[in-house]
Symmetry: C2
Subunit: 559 residues, 2 copies
């Protein structure tokens, strides 16, 4: 039962996802025969992963150690922390999902789409202790860009492991305060190891407060004479509430566009996170009777996603909203790394079509990040006073920067561990060491299938995207050892066939030449030999002629 | 002869490239029967243009008006200003290319690869006036991130048109000063219209001076105890000279890696822009005898280009350089929009492999942009005092921001023109108006071919990259109206065939069903009908089963 990498008195700590990357967060704490999972997220892939919808962790270790699993604890309701739950449940039996408030609401809504999956929930409260045989779990409220975000403290016989979740410190938040007292109390009792959010470790000082964002949005709504079109992350319930309040105060009705935004408003209103008097939202989308200065259009697309409402508005392809002179667009967001280009494209289109655009800048606090900067990370370190430190949630440079901050704040340099996914940190009350690895890899989710997309398929897609494909199809009569008709050449993404008749003819001749000496009567026809030679010979000709390397797929039909 | 969009006394000004984008700069000034071209650049495409090497402007207008062309004037030697020259010369006869110093050197070097193209050069000097029948061209030196950058002033009977080229104002540059006196003189004589660089219009205040960069690099080289690995734009001759000087002062030899860097050092040294005593460069690449603190490794890859030296060093795949403890990497550059992600990846890898990394930050002036910020743009406006203003070089938001600056600086709002590529601004000494459009579009260069790649091919590549391709090949006997053998299904980038035998069988059955009723004896076989139905029917089944939409290509062989 005991993890063979660990000594009997050691706690094992490792990530199945979330180290060296932003996304697919999943951390495990293991002691004796008990295993606790924190979060189960997805990662949204970059353009290199052609056509892949999400990336999730490899759950092999959990499948193999299912019997140890005590529960899945959720820090908050963002997709990079909960998006993997359906995929996890398909493969691993989870005795209980522990979550609070909005996170639980979002998970339940999500699981409605998977009625075949059995799942048990427990809504934890901040004052509760969840007890297992060897481990106990406590919670502390933090500030983040979604309500009901929590840090998790796991007491073990060897000491306490604290996982911050995603956090910042907002001294003037729009909803609950962080629970400073509880953090200080946990720190005072003694923390063996702190796992802390590194996303904004490179940001100097503090993040802006949501209160400043509220004030800015209110001032803008007041000063703008025409329609306000405002886009934000659909999960940012605080921001939506700020927009609701600013709209009410400036006599604006709110029309909502974008499915995920509608969904958040539905869940957020049902659970009491979004308060708006009846008639604030224009559910009918009938905006005709309302003058421009009384209208807020709240929409998705703050990341420049090509199919989202804002991109369609910008490009003039939105069915219900056309830009009109005097429109002001507010991007209440910042581009996630990788989305900078698509956001720029959207902004350029909006400008071009005559709109004014306001983005986050030193002069317009229209957005605040959900992740703490250097001074917030230091405050957490000072509250928790950990003996060991392990930066989590972030690319490698962020983890390294956070590690340096921890050393600045008094953690001994030998006690700071910057790990990769899968690497096991083994801790006892008076020792720390690296203790091997559990299997980890990226598993691709594409369409309805999990993990079915191998790296070969991705490699093929990448190759196809570069120079396209050329197929040569030959039909051979097996009795007469003869090619029956002219080889068929088809191509996609390479060149336009009808513009290149001469090249087609040459390729056909080449294909016949190659095949010829394989067709000697009396010998068995070597199909693979023909195929290999076709790829080589046609490929060489095409490269010489065009400097391109389409994927060449030969098909030999033997009749 | 006279452009039909223009009245006899009007000057026509338009861009074939460079408006609403960063790249493929090409501006035309036309008066009566004379046409002057300024710059001929390429644009490096983003990931959306699958496999395309460069984008160039459509030269149709120049082909149609070849007889008017007086010459091509080059502002400076960057690829987005000169990279299009070989493609232009293939299609358009250019009587003379006017360029100065380093730009001319780089163009000549480039044209060695195209011995079949006839080209005539004239090296202009700053004090020279190039005279045509109706127009005269004068030059003024500017500061930019490459030596020998010039602005161009075209005198016409209606007034003077000034094109700034790319510029900044550096009061303490590493090479020549900008020619403030000549700019002031041109402005004082009177400028009808100013075309000015908008790339950094969103940057507040001034760009850093190269002198500060020199000092920072020198201090870093002095304080770093191990090897310095420094990457920068290979065209940045100033920066290379700064690195040479810092290396000499700190007793470092310089090993150079990356073909384009070697080429710049060759051209730059030959033309006297790079000065280094013999023995400064380790041409042999033999670094074994030299201690770490005496070594500078100067390399390409500051944009995270996957095949460049720095990326290979970071990933441990460089043949000659392996990272060793104590290495410090300096990125003396800033990411060009679109490259942020690949730069981040490289930095993460470098950190992970134990190197220290220094990038441009408020605490480390290791790079200065070549484009002026708001106050520099205002200074240019004040020196030139134009009646009309047209922002150039930049995405739409930058052009708009620059337009607002011009109005702030006293240009009448009605006299500011933010144009698209192709739109003609028609000016006389006392009137300005929009006057139609010349044809413009993006022409793709891929492999050896220009313009052969149509948008359909790009669309195909994009589609292929998403879900791959599935081909169904059927052989029909035309006498018996029968399918001869089981349909062949091949796929690439969709799913792995051997893992999905059941699906293949179903697709084969579906294909036979679809074809069946087209094979009635006595009727002509409708091949296109079969193909359309195959795409529809197989596509529907695949989408239901997998939620994916591979490109489906049916091939029907009729024997």
């Amino acid at each position: 039962m005991q993890n063979e990498n660990l000594k009997p008195n050691e706690i094992g700590i490792f990530a199945l996802g979330g180290l060296g990357e932003i996304g697919k967060n999943m951390y495990c704490v293991e002691y004796a025969n008990e295993l606790i999972i924190i979060d189960s997220g997805i990662l949204f892939p970059d353009d290199n992963l052609m056509g892949i919808d999400y990336v999730i962790p490899d759950y092999t270790y959990l499948i193999d150690n299912q019997v140890k699993i005590k529960g899945l604890f959720i820090t908050h309701g963002h997709e990079d922390h909960i998006g993997g739950i359906p995929f996890l449940l398909k493969q691993v039996k989870i005795p209980m999902i522990y979550a609070n408030g909005l996170a639980l609401g979002i998970i339940k809504k999500k699981m409605e789409e998977y009625p075949e999956l059995k799942v048990k929930y427990h809504e934890f409260t901040e004052n509760e202790t969840v007890r297992f045989d060897k481990m106990e779990v406590n919670f502390f409220r933090t500030n983040h860009s979604i309500p009901d975000s929590f840090g998790i403290a796991i007491d073990t016989p060897q000491g306490t492991i604290v996982h911050t979740g995603d956090f910042k410190f907002d001294f003037t938040p729009t909803s609950n305060d962080a629970n400073y007292a509880k953090m200080a109390w946990i720190g005072d009792k003694g923390v063996l190891c702190l796992l802390s959010d590194s996303t904004n470790a490179e940001l100097d000082d503090f993040t802006e407060s949501e209160k400043e964002v509220s004030a800015t949005i209110h001032d803008l709504f007041k000063s703008i004479a025409g329609r306000v079109i405002i886009a934000t992350f659909s999960s940012n319930v605080h921001r939506i509430q700020q927009i609701v309040e600013a709209s009410i105060q400036t006599n604006r009705k709110i029309a909502v566009f974008g499915r995920s935004m509608e969904k958040t408003i539905e869940v957020g209103s049902a659970l009491g996170y979004i308060h708006a008097p009846d008639g604030t939202f224009l559910y009918s989308r009938n905006m005709t009777g309302i003058s421009r200065k009384n209208l807020t259009i709240l929409c998705t697309g703050s990341q420049g996603e090509p199919m989202a409402a804002l991109s369609r508005i910008a490009s003039g392809t939105h069915k219900q909203i056309a830009l009109i002179p005097g429109d002001t667009i507010i991007l209440s967001s910042s581009p996630i790394p990788g989305n900078q280009e698509s956001v720029n494209k959207t902004i350029n289109l909006l400008y071009k079509n005559g709109a004014s655009v306001i983005t986050k800048s030193p002069f317009a606090d229209v957005h605040a990040s959900g992740h703490g900067g250097k001074n917030e990370l230091k405050l957490m370190l000072k509250l928790m006073k950990p003996k060991y430190f392990m930066p989590i949630h972030g690319e490698y440079r962020m983890l390294k920067t956070h590690a340096a901050l921890a050393i600045d704040c008094g953690v001994h340099a030998n006690n700071v561990y910057v790990l990769d996914n899968g690497q096991i940190l083994a801790l006892s009350k008076d020792s720390g060491r690296m203790a091997g690895k559990v299997p980890t890899s990226d598993v691709y989710v594409d369409g309805l299938a999990i993990g079915e997309i191998g790296s070969q398929v991705i490699k093929d897609r990448r190759e196809l995207s570069k120079d396209g494909l050329l197929s040569v199809i030959m039909t051979i009569n097996q009795d007469r050892h003869e090619v029956i008709c002219t080889p068929t050449i088809i191509s996609r993404g390479f060149i336009f066939m009808k513009d290149n008749e001469q090249m087609i003819k040459t390729l056909q001749t080449l294909a016949l030449d190659v095949t010829d000496h394989y067709l000697e009567i009396g010998k068995k026809i070597n199909i693979n030999g023909i195929k290999n030679d076709l790829v080589k010979s046609l490929g060489k000709y095409i490269f010489e002629k065009t400097n391109r390397e389409p994927m060449i797929t030969p098909v030999i039909m033997v009749l």
